[in-house]
Structures are given as structure tokens and as C-alpha cells.
Amino acid sequence: MVTIYTTTVCPYCHMAKEYLEKNNTKFNEVNVEEDEAAAREMIQKSHQMGVPVLDINGSIIVGFDRTSIDKALGL
């Protein structure tokens, strides 16, 4: 399962989402700006507060890091 933690206007979040879409990866988006429980969950998982954070089957990736995303997705 793929979850992406985002804020509304963050460009790197948009880029990460578009990248997942381009690679036909289904994902669940959580906006941490609107959902404080999700914000806490993101901080707990990634030990930091910056967005985007991707949880790809348990691999936590901070930022729009294509090389790490490719690796986690097995692309």
C-alpha cells in the first residue's frame, strides 16, 4: 500500500503524486494540513515534519526522491 502525506500548495507533493500516477501506482493521499492526527502519524513514522512523506509498503521516503521511490516500488 502507498500513502502520501501532503500539504495543499506544496509543489514537491504535487510532483510526487504526478510521478506515482505516471507509473500507474495507486495511492492514498493524506493532507496533514487538514488532519492533525495524520500529521502526528507522519511525524511518528518519518521522525521529521517536512512534506511530502511517502510510505511505500513500509518504506518511508522523505521528499520527492525519485531514486528512492523507484527502489521502493521495484521500478
Binding site: P11, C13, V32, E33, A39, H47, M49
Partner: protein
């Protein structure tokens, strides 16, 4: 990207290498001075430019590629990337732009993402109901403060010089909120905390007194530094590390290398100017190649 479009239309055999599409303006929420467009987000602008570039059929584009080294061999250059790719070329146009300048104080690296941020558009919302400090009282500092206004309780703006120098429209908006406090003549000493940031320590440059502010976020907005490392030793750089160019044709000090945009010693760092300068460079490269 402007250069890429022109190079393709001039049918110059061109390879376009980039880490990603966007650059510094990517994080601007609302650009109001891109000529011909009343307002556009940095993300949309980058997408439009990328689409325009990809619509050209005579240019090869490689993205997610970071150039790591350039070597000169007689009248040609070898360009190396981080993924051990190697390319041979007669001419190079360097448009590597700039990146956020760091404070280089203890705690900054350790707390990156843990309270130290460089992208206020991205990370301001996580500062909901928290006190924050913005380091830098120029345009980017006040724009960060503006991004933080809907979320933060209190915003301290720390400026190194004796006065904040942002545009008055932005300053007025921030000041009118009543949430900000400007502290001038400051030199940041340390960012401290436990797992996350708890505060910032700074020196008053007039009195030498060391003071602390208890904040959970520090947004570093002290300007940019050029991505000119790959050109070091090849072309002349100024004392800020910017590539020195002849502003008439964008030539660097070394024959065969041109540069444009924020990586150069251009007087004004503007999207419109960078695009124009890159086009100027490509046209000059075209003329140069014709004579070869």
C-alpha cells in the same frame, strides 16, 4: 527550458540534462510578473515550460540526471553525470540556477526537517499553533512570514543588518497581522532542541548579548547560492561563486561554454530575464557553431 525550445527550433543538435523541471520559482505560490500571464503558481509555470519544451521534436531530454563534472579536451568537452553517463559536446550552456543558502550553524543540519525548513510554501502548515522564527528579513523572509501567517501563533523575523529590506507591499501585510516581531542586527549562533527544534540562539550584533527564542520552527530565508561547482576551475567565477558572463552574448571566460540565469553574475534574478538571457546564449551558440 527557454534555451531548449530555441535550440530545438534552430535545429542545433542538443542534449538537455536536468535534475528536475522547476528551479527556484517552483515553490512560489503565486507569481504575478511572468509576462503575458496575470498570475500563475511556480508549479504551473514549471509544468507549462516543461510541456513547451517536450513539444519540440528535435531535442533529446534526460531528466533526473545531475551533472557532476565537466572536462575540457582540446576543442570539445566531456560531461559526466552522477549515474556514470558520459556525453561529448562542442558547446555547453550552463543554466544550473541556484539553491537555498544555509546558515552553517550548529543544529541546522541535525534539525533539517525536524523544525528547520527551507520551503515555507511546503512546510508552513505543519507550524499550526506553534511559535516560529524566520531567519532573513529580505523578500524571501517576509514571503515565508506571509506563508506562516494563517498557521503560526507568533513569527519572529531575524535580520542580520539594521533593517528589513523586503518590498513594502509584503512588509505591510505581515506587519498588519500583529503576529510578527522583527529583530534586527542579529547573528544566529545555534539551533537547539531534543528530537525536534525547541529554539534558536542569536547574538545581538550591537551589544554582543546572546539571546534565545523558544520556537518550534526555523525557516531559513537568507538568499541563494549559485550551482556553479561543476564549472569551477574551468570558467571564471566572482567572489560569490557566480559564473562571470559577458552580458552581451552570455559567453563565459572559456570558449565553448555559455551560461545564463541565476548561476551567473546577472544583475537581476528574475524569471523573465533568465529566460531572455538563455535565449540570447542559444542564438550566440548558433552563430558560433555556424563559423566552426
Amino acid at each position: 527550458m527557454a534555451a531548449g525550445v530555441y535550440a530545438a527550433r534552430k535545429k542545433i543538435n542538443t542534449l538537455f540534462l536536468t535534475k528536475d523541471f522547476g528551479g527556484q520559482s517552483l515553490v512560489s505560490a503565486d507569481i504575478k510578473n511572468w509576462i503575458g500571464t496575470k498570475n500563475i503558481s511556480g508549479f504551473e509555470l514549471a509544468k507549462n515550460l516543461e510541456e513547451h519544451l517536450r513539444a519540440q521534436n528535435s531535442i533529446e531530454i534526460k531528466d533526473n540526471i545531475l551533472v557532476s563534472k565537466i572536462e575540457r579536451h582540446d576543442d570539445k568537452f566531456l560531461v559526466f553525470d552522477e549515474k556514470s553517463g558520459q556525453y561529448e559536446t562542442k558547446t555547453i550552456l550552463l543554466t544550473a540556477g541556484s539553491r537555498y543558502k544555509k546558515l552553517n550553524v550548529p543544529g541546522e543540519k541535525e534539525y533539517e526537517g525536524k523544525g528547520v525548513f527551507y520551503c515555507s510554501t511546503c512546510d508552513a502548515p505543519i507550524m499550526k499553533n506553534r511559535n516560529v522564527a524566520v531567519v532573513g528579513g529580505g523578500n524571501s523572509g517576509f514571503e515565508a512570514a506571509l506563508d506562516l501567517l494563517p498557521y503560526a501563533i507568533k513569527i519572529y523575523i531575524l535580520e542580520y543588518t539594521g533593517e528589513c529590506k523586503a518590498d513594502s507591499v509584503t512588509c505591510d501585510k505581515v506587519r498588519a497581522s500583529g503576529k510578527s516581531e522583527e529583530i534586527t542586527m542579529t547573528e544566529v549562533q545555534e539551533i537547539f532542541g531534543d528530537e525536534f527544534v525547541k529554539g534558536i540562539r542569536y547574538k545581538n550584533r550591537n551589544t554582543g548579548e546572546i539571546k534565545e527564542l523558544l520556537v518550534e520552527g526555523v525557516f531559513v530565508e537568507i538568499g541563494f547560492q549559485p550551482n556553479s561547482e561543476i564549472a569551477k576551475g574551468l570558467v571564471d567565477l566572482d567572489k560569490y561563486g557566480r559564473v562571470i558572463i559577458d552580458s552581451k552574448n552570455q559567453k563565459t571566460s572559456l570558449e565553448g561554454i555559455w551560461a545564463a540565469g541565476d548561476v551567473t553574475d546577472v544583475l537581476y534574478n528574475q524569471n523573465n530575464i533568465a529566460a531572455g538571457d538563455a535565449i540570447k546564449a542559444v542564438l550566440n551558440i548558433y552563430d558560433y557553431l555556424k563559423t566552426k
